[in-house]
């Protein structure tokens, strides 16, 4: 096995209510993919024995902090890593309690896929709906509903189908790109890595097989060229005349494909120029696309600095000072309320902003919109309008997760207090 040949990384988030078997599932994936070392397993076996359990509780593999071990719950997002010969995986393990919407949103923000666990005995709960909704709010392209504990319902097909129907009915109200169901037993391993002999009626792939094969390369936006300028590289080496005039604009491609020779526009000046070179980490490259970090060199001397954007003359992001956005509030310090002043960090620019209006608060369980809400508390989601002190170069979050996202920072505490997803239209209403 040679990891340089293994293509790509799948980042996925897991969500489920307490005791749905999330930790057991993650433990099983790590264990069956041989990502657990002997000393780590020995520690789990020791702890399980001390607690009087008869088998090694794989869920213990994922308990990170002391407070979590003491309370027997997961508090914070944890990241886990495993690999198969086909793919590498990064799991954002997010706790399931109601009060941890904030963690789910965090874990889902960078995820290609989300697994929502449902207990086969309990069926689709309010929490399952919430998890599915948050997945779509964050535009995670792929959703897998893992119906767990099938062993406890006698591997019954009818029960599984009922859950599937109920979930599908709910899902039609959401904008889910790709929805897959897998009946599993995380404890016994059915349909986790290998297809289960206990469920011959199920003809889909095992969960891991699905994770290994789900098609994610086209989830990126390769159409709209977006290059937020992160840093201007000017070597200032007087002893090397070749570098004297070097001026490169460093950044990570947020959308589209760039090539030397392409005509581009600089925002905000609106001036157009041509890409002469693209320098990758190891030298010039013929093209750049997400998520590459590169440095652009341009034909003309334009005054470009961090926070600016490079796009195509005929395909530009919107230049906006008034934003409409869905926001998830991440702090208990104080609620989001109209007239509040905050900092917005969007791509590589940071600006002061004013919350003009809270249009509605969304009940994440029922999707009911409360248009009379006065504020958003921790873990609450709503739609706001925001006035920013200077123009940002934005896209709809649905079109581009990188140029459509922002975080909100409280200047008084420097805490990250909100996660925002831009939606159109952005009129100054």
């Amino acid at each position: 096995m040679n990891v340089t040949k293994r293509m790509g990384i799948l980042r996925f988030a897991t969500a489920g209510s307490v005791d749905d078997g999330k930790s057991t599932l993650i433990g099983r994936l790590l264990y069956d993919s041989k990502s657990i070392f002997e000393d780590q397993l020995a520690a789990v076996e020791r702890t399980s024995a001390e607690r009087g359990e008869e088998y090694a509780d794989l869920a213990l593999l994922t308990d990170g902090l002391r407070a979590e071990r003491e309370q027997g719950i997961t508090i914070d997002v944890a990241y886990r890593y495993f690999a198969t010969p086909r793919r590498s995986f990064v799991i954002a393990d997010t706790p399931g309690h109601l009060q941890y919407t904030r963690n789910m949103v965090t874990g889902a923000s960078g995820a290609d896929l989300a697994i929502v666990l449902v207990d086969a005995r309990k069926g689709v709960l309010e929490q399952s709906r919430r998890h599915a909704f948050l997945t779509t709010l964050l535009r995670v392209p792929h959703l897998v509903v893992a119906v767990n504990k099938m062993d406890l319902v006698g591997y019954d097909e009818a029960g599984y189908e009922r859950i599937k129907d109920e979930f599908t009915a709910f899902a039609t109200r959401l904008d889910i790109g790709d929805l897959t169901f897998v009946p599993i037993s995380a404890l016994h391993g059915d349909n986790v890595v290998e297809r289960s002999v206990n469920m011959p009626w199920y003809d889909g792939p095992s969960l891991l097989h699905h994770l290994e094969h789900v098609h994610i390369v086209s989830d990126r936006n390769l159409i709209d060229v977006r290059f937020p300028v992160q840093y201007v590289i000017r070597p200032h080496k007087s002893d090397d005349p070749g570098l004297h005039d070097y001026r490169g604009y460093a950044g990570q491609v947020a959308g589209g494909v760039l090539r030397p020779g392409d005509e581009v526009v600089h925002l905000g000046s609106g001036l157009t120029t041509t890409i002469t070179h693209i320098d990758g980490p190891d030298g010039p490259v013929p093209e750049a696309f997400p998520p590459m970090s590169v440095t652009l060199r341009l034909a003309d001397d334009i005054d470009i600095s961090r926070g600016d954007m490079i796009a195509r003359p005929n395909n530009r992001p919107e230049t906006a000072q008034d934003l409409e956005a869905m926001v998830c509030w991440l702090t208990a310090d104080r609620p989001l309320s109209p007239r509040m002043k905050l900092l917005v960090k969007h791509t590589t620019s940071t600006a002061k902003a004013l919350v003009k209006e809270l249009r509605y608060r969304l009940d994440v369980n029922t999707l009911h919109r409360d248009e009379h809400a006065g504020g958003l508390e921790l873990n609450e989601v709503g739609r706001i309008s925001l006035r920013v002190t200077r123009p940002l170069f934005v896209d709809d979050y649905a079109r581009n997760r990188l140029t459509g996202a922002f975080i909100l920072i409280d200047e008084a505490t420097n805490a990250t207090v909100g996660a925002g997803m831009i939606i159109g239209p952005r009129s100054g209403r």
Partner: protein, 303 residues
Amino acid sequence: MRTTHLLSQLEILEAESIQIIREIVAEFERPVLLFSGGKDSVVLLRLVEKAFRPAPIPCPVMHVDTGHNFPEVLAFRDRRVAELEVRLVVASVQESIDQGRVTEETGRRASRNRLQTTTLLDAIERHRFDAAFGGARRDEEKARAKERVVSFRDEFGQWDPKSQRPELWNLFNTRIRQAEHVRVFPLSNWTELDVWEYIRRDGLELPSIYFAHPRTVFERDGMLLDDNPYAHRDDDEPAFEARVRYRTVGDASCTGAVMSTAATLAEVIEEIQVTRVSERGQTRADDRSGEAAMEDRKKEGYF
């Protein structure tokens, strides 16, 4: 020509790390790169180099010197620093001891590992560094799995795992007040194997102790320690010759070697792929003192 626009795993990790590094250097005034000479910091140094090419590395490099180093590692450090023409800051644990900032541990298991925290925090304060790059990875250890890429430290240098800033997308909150700082971990999402594969792909040089070599060692707590004056070998701990290599590089008093015949990078990678013991479990006495050893040290301000 790549028509499908695919990147390999290492290319994706590299791009992500470079984005983080540029973001920090753009937003902080006095960043510093912590460099131990170990394999992770070798990769990190390389990434920082690539992030700003053809400009020189825009920040100094700092080594926290316990005084209990492997000489091979110090020699390597000095050579790399000279090649890259970066400024090296050495923060010395011995100086912290001499100044009475910390007291040397005594006894057989005495180590300067924990003392490093004070030396590190003092140096950050003295040089007014506001961001310190480290090579830690989340796959190393349970407490690290929960740490942010940009990890906030209060004015005492402490980490509070319960009030970490949420990190969404590739947007990092870099706001701090006077006397606070952040630790930044661009290799957060790399695994041990990724690091080795990258070293191979880029042909990076490592200190020689990473490859199998003869060494006088002795066994303690199931670990092979180098028979040096700092390890305080006891009479009931017989020394012997063995062919070993190191999987991590830390303080010579508590970093264990593993028996190995792997003398080349390819051989080391082959061994790592089949090993069944974690990097820290096998080679770091400092992590074995209880389930929460790393968490406790991190809260105090450790790397």
